[in-house]
Symmetry: C2
Subunit: 413 residues, 2 copies
């Protein structure tokens, strides 16, 4: 792109991100939960915007919005690009929204500069990825890729007790949508542009991350049951202290994770103590484990060994252990050919880049087993995401847009 | 006592405990928080009951209720016995209430059998000991012994935001109480009968615990501040994980406590994590430390060393540590002469007994520095207390009553 068209694209991109950020519940940052009114307004806005760009708009049964730029060869499968419109509570302006906004501008630029593509290009705004309102994630891309068939909506309940089904039925955006099926078998490639949400690109002063793979995840809820007792009158050796037991387990977790080394990460992010009173020995502790690795074998071996060690600790201390698996995803390698194309583009555009693993989950991981899939990262300031502090500079945002645009050109023209 | 009078006393004691247990908010066990309506009703009930026994009743400015049996020699200081009427939330029938009920029956029996005592005997129902409603404890005995002067009531606030002062002003029981001063300098000895709230007497099949001393306590709130971050995208070695840091501190705490050995106990009973989300590295953790020992030097040395180690852990991990001391009591040795008298009584009554340290705090520790003080324990089933499951058998309750009655006879007749 020349300087004036870069300026114009930067302007359009920043404007679009600000416009999207305005669809939020009041409070710090952006909060746009699935099927809420602000979510509906955001999807309506995008629908109108896509139509304004001359794209053919469609909405599927869960509220994914597509904008289609038909190619000359209708026999060839679609090149899909985009990301998710939902956010976490008090999230940032870029997570998800950037991938949609940049995709729309890329399609607009491509159409203006090169006319109709050979292969059909589509931009998608997935209805949901974060799992912030309902205890399930990838509701949008999961429908497209047949992870979900919709039956989950009857039993899945948000914090207010509303079922996912009721939320869909009541959503103003889904009124009148007649699409019966969300699944698609006509996708030839998926490309997602996203902020890194980590600190690696910033620390290494790199413009572009070419994602080689998305980690697999295991998430567990661990319940340790001991005996609540008086903190003053119960000798140390007569205790079945649920918190002291959990502490030993978490101490082992961290040591083992450090020993295993990168790219393994292991985190306990949530821990609750009962009765949670200063002078009562805890009788019960619930904590979560979140463990990730890009290699399935390594991930499985680590989790098995850790849970066996937790069990030994429980037996030794006379407490009981209950482990519930709440999330199990396998690593999703990106397509090596597409990744090599992205590397080439970065070299041609004289951009610094690095091959990297994504420690966060993304819609792209749902597509990876079904079609060639690629992911492009841009830096996140201080690695901060899921926060009103989330920030990527205009120059960094445009660098990602340029790589995406070139990639879509190569795939579709 | 002969069999029929033992039976009569047992009956009266059990009845009185049941009557007191009825003054509670609905829910499991007994909940009778300071200055609530059920608390007022319980104190009114005791006031009337004491008057019915021919005792001269008085109420001091914080709502401690006294029943006085005047002695022949008004020059001699008062022999005081009793315990506290308040409970924890969902507590038991015996904690506190037993010491009041048994004292009333002891005075009734002594008066009936031996007439007017030489020295004045008084039973007291302290308004508060547990610290369950307001974040301060010993509000009753603390006034009598001048730990408190009442100025604390303006700034001390309960969970609903009510100040202690407002709770006092609104209490129906304190309407019309004109006493201006709670402090007393006319107490010659204090004797408290209480359930053990621990498992030692039951484990050793012993009827009576003669308390040699009450442990000193240190209670701290520790705040660990790290940096909240994405659990997937932040490598293990780039984390400032507040929970992992707290875990290492608590792991050290337990090891050090086990190494120190009895009677030291160290507990973390309360721990809270922020933001407490499975996929976010914790940015902040608050936890409590409760550390007790019967020797001040040992207690002080242990706490100093532990806090220094916590500080080293914080520095090593790049997190900040804020330690607030919220309770600091020194060990309270009981009067050796009074304890020897209790031992003698147990031998005379052919009861099994053991000298022991109280790991729990009691009103007696406020009196110990001011006048000869003694404490008698009876067993708690399975060591359970502060629970609806709290239980001591009628035989065990009466054994304690018999020892208390004999002790008061020796002191006052």
């Amino acid at each position: 792109m020349n300087d004036s068209s870069v300026q114009a694209s930067t302007q359009k991109l920043l404007e679009l991100l600000e416009e999207l950020a305005a669809f939020t519940t009041p409070g710090p940052g952006v909060t746009r939960l699935l099927y809420t009114e602000e979510w509906s307004q955001a999807q309506i806005f995008l629908q109108e915007k896509m139509a304004g760009l001359g794209l053919e708009v469609s909405i599927d049964k869960v509220g994914n919005v597509y904008g289609r730029l038909s190619g000359r060869d209708p026999q060839q499968k679609v090149i899909l690009t985009g990301s998710h419109i939902d956010t976490v509570v008090n999230g940032g302006k870029y997570d998800g929204a950037y991938g949609i906004a940049a995709a729309m501008i890329a399609l607009q630029d491509l159409q203006r500069n090169f006319g109709q593509p050979q292969r059909t290009l589509e931009v998608v705004s997935f209805c949901e990825e974060e799992g912030s309102r309902f205890p399930l994630a990838y509701w949008g891309s999961g429908h497209v890729t047949e992870r979900y068939d919709g039956s989950e909506a009857e039993t899945c309940i948000d914090a207010e007790g509303v079922t996912l089904q009721a939320a869909m039925t009541e959503s103003s955006f889904l009124q009148g949508v007649t699409d019966e099926n969300g699944a698609r078998n006509d996708i030839g490639a998926f490309v997602e542009l996203h902020i890194e949400q980590g600190i690696i690109l910033e620390k290494t002063d790199t413009q572009i991350g070419v994602v080689q793979g998305i980690v697999g995840q295991r998430r567990y809820v661990v319940k340790v049951s001991g005996i609540a007792n008086h903190a003053g009158t119960t000798p140390m050796l007569m205790r079945q202290d649920a918190l002291a037991s959990a502490v030993e387990m978490l101490y082992v977790l961290e040591s083992a994770a450090k020993t295993a080394g990168e790219p393994l990460v292991a985190t306990s992010g949530k821990l609750e103590v009962y009765p949670n009173t200063p002078n009562v020995i805890p009788g019960e502790v619930l904590f979560t484990l979140d463990i990730r690795h890009s290699e399935e074998d390594e991930l499985e071996r680590f989790c098995e060994k850790l849970l066996a060690e937790c069990n030994e600790i429980a037996v030794k201390r006379g407490v009981t252990l209950e482990v519930t698996s709440v999330l199990h995803t396998v690593p999703a390698p990106m397509d090596t050919k597409l990744s090599a194309m992205l590397e080439n583009i970065c070299r041609q555009q004289v951009k610094t880049y690095r091959m990297m693993v994504s420690g966060a989950g993304h819609d792209a991981q749902l597509f990876a087993p079904r079609c060639p899939t690629a992911m492009i990262f841009v830096p996140s300031r201080a690695g901060i995401s899921h926060s009103p502090e989330e920030y990527t500079s205009p120059e960094q945002l445009v660098a990602g847009l340029e790589v995406l645009t070139a990639m879509l050109y190569e795939l579709a023209y």
